[in-house]
């Protein structure tokens, strides 16, 4: 593979480290070219298209060749004056925060558990996590929907066997219990990534420090907050950010749960709402406007966090 030698060659041309800061080197820009090129190619045009379409009345007829009509901000105005939009935004933010929080907390707990048990138990736990992580999303959803099936789902069967009457209980009927099921699934899918990353961070904490702290009479609680937490803070920060981004745009899980039978209007989140406006109602102008809004919203929500992250980074 010739590609790997490229950085080596570039570095050879560039002056030693100290000088690098003074001159404006060409090398870093060359190194960025492939990444920037592929991002521009694959996302540049779609993003531009989306922005442009969001200012037009663009439906199925336009997709089939009718010239679109420029409507300026009309799509946005319609979007922002529709209470349904704000209901979906509110639900999405709530869902995203709850899921990100639960995922990170459970992930950290699982990581602590990995750290606390013997090698064999740890391996078992890690394999279980790996298997869950490796499950394809469609397979995951098929299994979970089946587990929660109202008539022959094993969850109802188990709860009923335990003495609660859950015969024919429909989990997807009420929005709250729908979101509960969705949360269980999303957390189940996301925890392995968090657990492994945090566990990796935990193994960096030297045992001597922990033992010294224990000898000094620090409670496990104190040890967690004053030693462990600061050490895994960088991992936690980036993982939390990623979970928030991913959970805010959750789509496949919600869509498949809805397809399994749930009231659409009261269970829509941003992802499925964009999908319904676009594919469903063929209102691509509105769908684009909402997409742009979601982008702005996510950037706004995470802006200070990201700045903070970058400051720590440098």
């Amino acid at each position: 593979m010739t590609a790997v030698s490229t950085p080596a060659r570039t570095r050879q041309d560039s002056p030693p480290q100290q000088v690098r800061h003074r001159r404006r080197p060409v090398a870093p820009y060359l190194l960025l070219v492939p990444t920037i090129a592929i991002l521009l190619l694959a996302l540049g045009y779609p993003l531009a298209w989306q922005f442009w379409t969001s200012t037009q009345k663009f439906g199925l007829a336009q997709q089939f060749g009718k010239p679109p009509e420029f409507v300026g901000m009309a799509n946005y105005v319609q979007l922002f004056t529709d209470p349904q939009t704000w209901a979906v935004v509110g639900r999405s933010i709530a869902f995203c925060l709850v899921n990100a929080a639960v995922t990170v907390i459970v992930g950290v707990l699982v990581a602590l558990l990995m750290n606390a048990v013997g090698a064999v138990t740890r391996l078992i736990l890690q394999i279980a996590m790996l298997l869950a992580w490796a499950m394809p999303v469609i397979a995951t959803m098929t299994v979970w929907i089946w587990l929660f099936d109202w008539h022959r789902g094993i969850v109802n069967w188990a709860l009923t066997s335990l003495g609660f009457d859950f015969t024919n209980h429909n989990w997807l009927e009420q929005p709250l219990s729908f979101y509960f099921v969705a949360t269980v699934i999303v957390v189940w899918m996301s925890v392995p990534f968090v657990a492994f990353s945090v566990y990796a961070g935990l193994t960096q904490i030297s045992e001597e420090v922990m033992e010294a702290a224990a000898l000094d009479g620090a409670t496990p609680r104190q040890r967690f907050f004053s030693i462990i937490l600061p050490m895994i803070r960088p991992v936690l920060m980036i993982i939390t950010l990623l979970q928030v981004i991913w959970d805010l745009r959750v789509f496949a899980q919600i869509k498949m749960l809805q397809d399994a039978g749930a009231p659409l209007a009261s269970t829509d989140l941003l992802g499925t709402y964009i999908y319904r406006l676009g594919v469903g109602s063929s209102d691509f102008g509105m769908a684009s406007a909402l997409s742009i809004f979601v982008l702005v919203l996510t950037v706004a929500l995470s802006f200070f966090y990201v700045l903070h992250l970058m400051k720590e980074d440098s």
Binding site: A37, I38, L40, L41, G44, Y45, A48, G59, L60, A61, Q63, F64, G65, K66, W150, H151, R152, T167, N168, N170, L172, E173, D259, G261, A262, P263, L264, A265, R276, V279, G280, S281, S282, D283
Partner: protein
């Protein structure tokens, strides 16, 4: 911008190609080379879902090849993704399929935006007025034919003879009798099963639910001078909806969010052979009656061992079928399922596509549809469905079946989930008149959206 894009694309693509990973690059030479209608054309047909059996696909391919010398490629698209794919590929002349099957209710949305070629001149040749008219109607815009019926199926009732007998009710002759019968069965619950439904109909199941609107003379929408109005508040619609609500309240224990998927699970016995000796005494039987498309009969019956496998075998002593009756001596107008078929307007192979249409509407192919249990588009060949009880119930129920409105925004209405929402609120015991007014106001603008 475009120039830069293609430069980047070229660079990236060639980089990918260099590694030899870029196998199977899009190939559409056939489309461009054979644009002139003289030579044989290689064409592509999209079928929706697995309803067209392999035997029929093979027939189309062979016959097309013999007749024109060209190759026919048949690609199956799943129903759930059909709209996405039609939206992207159909306007794209270089990649559009040439002949396309669409759901009959999706047809108006695409014909109204000019996705299909005008085939009015072939209408008479392909069967003319012999073709199923309600389907022809949804493929028409301004008097011109764009899509034609491909096949139809309609829903009829499957019932448990033993349970009906135990409850002391007869097979109904009118819709009123049906309504009373299923309520009686649920109240008597002869097998004493928890949450037993006399008639299992999901709260969101509007496709079966609309039969009650239709049967009482109501409709979903009407067209006045090109403007569509939702008519759930029409007194006849309200009457039907009220009957449906009564059934939901008394006769059906289906979840309020259930749709029309797999209802046959609930009229089968199943647990008797579970875990060898440990028969739990439980049964999955949960309903005495369901409405389902005809092919459901393959999934209904007793559990038997055949070649070492456990399969369902229809049992005439236990199970029966009938077409949902109306109150006017005719069968109730049920929702007519099925597909339309048309030629993509962007296709470069119009001549080949038209040849394929002729093959599809030939008497041989129409009869092949019938033999495979799919209602043929041309009424001359309906007899090919056979004369067993399933064919009889299918023909009877289809004879008075009805389609959803041919409004341009209909696909949007379906995709929005508003109908599911409305029907589940009705099933939940809401005020029918108020709900109907609320959803009329919501649906009317959606119906007219292009």
């Amino acid at each position: 911008m475009k120039k830069m894009l293609s430069a980047i694309a070229l660079a990236t693509a060639s980089a990918l190609a260099l590694t030899g990973c870029a196998s199977g690059t899009a190939s559409n030479p056939s489309a461009s080379t054979s644009a002139t209608s003289a030579g044989p054309q290689n064409i592509t047909m999209w079928v929706a879902g697995g309803d067209t059996p392999q035997e029929l696909r093979d027939y189309l391919k062979t016959t097309y090849n013999t007749k024109t010398g060209g190759t026919l490629t048949i690609e199956e698209q799943s129903w759930g993704d059909l709209v996405t794919k039609l939206t992207t590929a159909l306007p794209d002349a270089n990649n559009t399929p040439d002949v396309v099957e669409v759901g009959n209710t999706q047809s108006p949305t695409f014909t109204n935006v000019g996705a299909f070629a005008d085939i009015s001149d072939m209408y008479a040749e392909l069967g003319g007025d012999k073709l199923l008219q309600s389907f022809v109607e949804v493929g028409k815009v301004d008097g011109k034919n764009y899509t034609l019926p491909y096949y139809f199926g309609s829903r009829y009732a499957f019932y448990r003879k033993d349970v009906w007998k135990a409850a002391g009710v007869e097979v109904p002759k009118t819709l009123d009798e049906f309504n009373t019968a299923v309520k009686a069965i649920a109240e008597k619950n002869p097998k004493n099963i928890k949450d037993f439904s006399g008639f299992f109909i999901g709260g969101q199941d509007w496709r079966n639910g609309i039969s009650w609107i239709f049967a009482n003379g109501g409709d979903l929408a009407k067209n006045e001078g090109g403007n569509w109005t939702s008519t759930l508040s029409d007194p006849n619609s309200i009457k039907g909806l009220t009957q449906l609500q009564e059934i939901q309240k008394v006769a059906s224990r289906a979840p309020k969010t259930a749709k029309d998927e797999s209802p046959w699970l609930y009229i089968n016995d199943s647990d008797k052979i579970m875990d060898g000796d440990k028969v739990s005494g439980k049964t999955s039987l949960a309903a005495a009656t369901i409405m389902a498309p005809g092919w459901a009969h393959w999934s209904i019956g007793d559990l038997v061992k055949k070649d070492g496998k456990e399969v369902r075998a229809w049992n005439d002593d236990k199970f029966g079928v009938f077409a949902l009756p109306g109150n006017d001596g005719k069968p109730a107008p049920v929702f007519a399922g099925g597909s339309n078929i048309g030629i993509s307007a962007a296709s470069k192979n119009q001549a080949g596509a038209r040849e394929l249409m002729k093959i599809i509407f030939s008497s041989e192919y129409q009869q092949m549809l019938g033999k495979n249990g799919l209602g043929p588009a041309n009424s001359d060949y309906v007899s090919s469905l056979g004369d067993d009880q399933f064919a009889k119930a299918l023909i009877e129920s289809a004879s008075n079946s009805k389609l959803t409105p041919a409004a341009p925004g209909w696909a949007g209405v379906e995709a929005s989930g508003k109908l599911e929402e409305f029907f589940s609120k009705v099933a939940d015991g809401g005020d029918v008149t108020a709900l109907a007014a609320e959803y009329d106001a919501l649906l009317t603008p959606m119906l007219n959206a292009k």
